[in-house]
């Protein structure tokens, strides 16, 4: 168990290191920030002074070395756009996205367990057919279009919900609803598949023979075993939710990490791009390890050698 975690952590660290290199050099290739932050008619001297001040004149290797040393001290640079430490800007945006992701994943997992279990209880039945049609539609829906159509219907035509921003309960409905679609559709399929297997196991027959209520058989006896693959897939989906968050946050004006990333790429705010990508990656890698651990804890049969 210990060596397994050590290996996973090492693997994540290597991935993180690769990402650091990619991000640093990719961001430097996007063009000079001096063109964006100084007026068009700024003198050559002014540009020079700007580049000198922020260290953009030094050779790339030297800039990279400095970046690494700062990184070791948890100093991720200074946001040019906001004139504040980049890490501070990123850490401010993270909770917003995490809250959105947490609410979405909770609803998606709970809903998928309910629909998937009911579908698996009667394969080919009404719930099953509705569930598989829904999940197929969910896997095919372009989320940005669903978001726009929802705005069109609920905000423009009906005027029930606000178009963007966050604050009240009503602001959450559309972003969560749109973000929910993809993980929900995939999870329903996974729950259905693994519950089909669990429900035909001998111990379920035993439980039924003992006269235990059907609800208890499905949601207690079978579900405990059927849940394991669901956890793995839910973990993958939680990482993938960042994909959706970029789009949902951009459309609904949600001040989270996805919007921050797009904004700072457009503004060439190098420090914030690097910081947000590194923090996001670190969170995802940490989450993957936690999921592996949870898997071992929940299923005594899977004690990682």
């Amino acid at each position: 168990m210990g060596s397994f975690i050590a290996r996973r952590s090492l693997q994540s660290l290597v991935a993180l290191a690769g990402l650091i290199v990619l991000v640093f050099f990719a961001a430097r290739l996007t063009g000079s920030p001096a063109d964006l932050y100084l007026p068009i008619d700024a003198s050559v001297e002014a540009r020079q002074a700007f580049n000198e001040k922020h260290g953009f004149n030094d050779p790339l290797t030297e800039q990279f070395g400095r970046f690494l040393v700062d990184l070791a001290r948890f100093d991720l640079g200074h946001s040019i756009r906001k004139d504040r430490p980049a890490l501070e800007v990123v850490l401010e945006a993270i909770p917003t996205t995490l809250a959105l992701a947490a609410v979405t994943m909770t609803l998606a997992v709970a809903g998928a367990i309910l629909v998937g279990s009911l579908a698996a209880r009667r394969p080919g039945g009404a719930v099953d057919r509705l569930g598989s049609t829904l999940s197929l539609a969910a896997a095919s829906a372009p989320d940005f279009w669903v978001a726009i159509s929802a705005i069109l219907l609920f905000a423009v035509a009906l005027g029930w919900l606000p178009t963007s921003g966050m604050g009240t309960f009503w602001h959450w409905i559309m972003p969560v609803g749109v973000l929910l679609i993809r993980p929900f559709g995939i999870l329903v399929q996974v729950v259905r598949g693994s519950m089909l297997g669990a429900l035909s196991a001998p111990y379920v027959k035993t439980a039924r023979a003992k006269g235990i209520r059907e609800r208890t058989v499905v949601f207690v006896h079978a579900l405990r075993n059927g849940l394991l693959p669901v956890i793995t897939v839910a973990g993958d989906q939680a990482a993938g939710i960042v994909n959706g968050a970029v789009i949902v946050e951009t459309i609904f004006g949600w001040p989270g990490i996805g919007k921050l990333m797009i904004d700072s790429i457009i503004q060439r705010d190098f420090a914030v791009i690097q910081a947000s990508i590194l923090v996001t990656a670190a969170i995802i890698f940490a989450m993957n390890i936690v999921i592996d651990l949870a898997y071992g804890l929940l299923d005594p049969r899977v004690r990682h050698a």
């Binding site: 290597v14 095919s140 372009p142 940005f144 960042v242 970029v246 789009i247 995802i284």
Partner: protein, 307 residues
């Protein structure tokens, strides 16, 4: 799968039997019909309605859909410059399908080959390939694409490359998993014992069994890649004007939601219909290509009996 040469099994399926199986599944039938029409429109569109995609008619600016007064070309309305929506949609379908199919073909070929190699050759090379796949998998693909496309100019070539690279791990992992299982099978061992070299064994005996799985995967992946390209174009870092894809059309129409909803709605609807058709067809293909489940689609089998 020694039954490959028996009548009625994988090898001996005529086109007529495939069509009969398709007819047994009405949804898959509709999906196939839609995709066929779409491909035909994309291929023949420029010949049928030459130049109407670019022709502006300022009197028809934001003309509403479902009115035949302006001729059938304007059945889906017109955009902010008075160009026919229908013609624009057909024009956009060309680049949308082109980008997605190139990306899928690229990741299919490279990912499949790498996966076969990783399954066959053990050693540091295989480990390296797998670790690379892990790293690619563990990071949100859209973020990677965003970083790369902002660095290099978002040309069609770069978008195809980015999309292909982010989908590589799926093919690598699937191909490798299949190979690992297949290489221990009796008929593979038999081929090896009879003196076939590793390359011949792989190409003649193993790869034909991996191909159907990878092809089904490619159909689903086509939908996924199309959605990814649309999302990138929507965010403004995908296809750039004057090229046009459905995703870009949604982005351009976004500003007119209150006044001309059809500008953003129809392109998105076409994305949805295309991906839905692909997914429906892929799930039909999974059943039809599996000798153990195929009876569901054949006369006498119980239709609608989901596997």
């Amino acid at each position: 799968m020694a039954s490959a040469s028996l009548p009625g099994a994988a090898g001996g399926l005529g086109a007529r039997r495939w069509l009969a199986m398709l007819a047994r599944d009405p949804l898959a039938c509709l999906a196939a019909l839609f995709l066929l029409l779409l491909v035909l429109a994309a291929l023949l569109g420029p010949a049928l309605i030459p130049e109407s995609a670019g022709r502006m008619n300022l009197r028809l600016r934001n003309a509403p859909p479902f009115e035949l007064a302006n001729g059938w070309l304007y059945i889906l309305g017109a955009d902010t410059l008075g160009r026919s929506m229908l013609a624009r949609l057909i024009e956009a379908s060309r680049s949308t399908l082109m980008v997605a199919s190139s990306a899928v073909a690229l990741s299919f070929l490279i990912g499949g080959t790498l996966g076969v190699l990783a399954g066959y050759a053990r050693g540091w090379g295989a480990t390296l390939i797998l670790r690379m796949a892990d790293v690619l998998m563990s990071f949100p693909s859209l973020l990677l694409a965003v970083v790369v496309l902002y660095t290099f100019s978002p040309s069609i070539k770069n978008i195809v490359l980015v999309l292909a690279i982010t989908r590589l791990p799926v093919y690598i992992r699937t191909a490798r998993a299949e190979i690992l299982e297949l290489r221990e099978r009796m008929f593979v061992s038999a081929a090896r014992v009879m003196g076939a070299g590793p390359i011949r064994t792989a190409l003649r005996h193993v790869v034909p069994f991996v191909l159907p799985t990878l092809l089904t995967l490619a159909a689903v992946d086509f939908a996924y890649v199309m959605l990814a390209e649309s999302a990138l174009s929507f965010l403004g870092i995908g296809i750039q004007p004057p090229d046009v894809t459905w995703g870009l059309m949604v982005a351009q129409g976004r500003g007119y939601l209150a006044s001309a909803w059809w500008l953003a709605f129809f392109p998105g609807l076409f994305i949805m219909l295309t991906t839905l058709s692909l997914n429906l067809l892929a799930s039909w293909l999974r059943v039809a290509a599996d000798p153990q489940q195929r009876w569901r689609l054949e006369p006498g089998g119980k239709a609608g009996d989901a596997p």
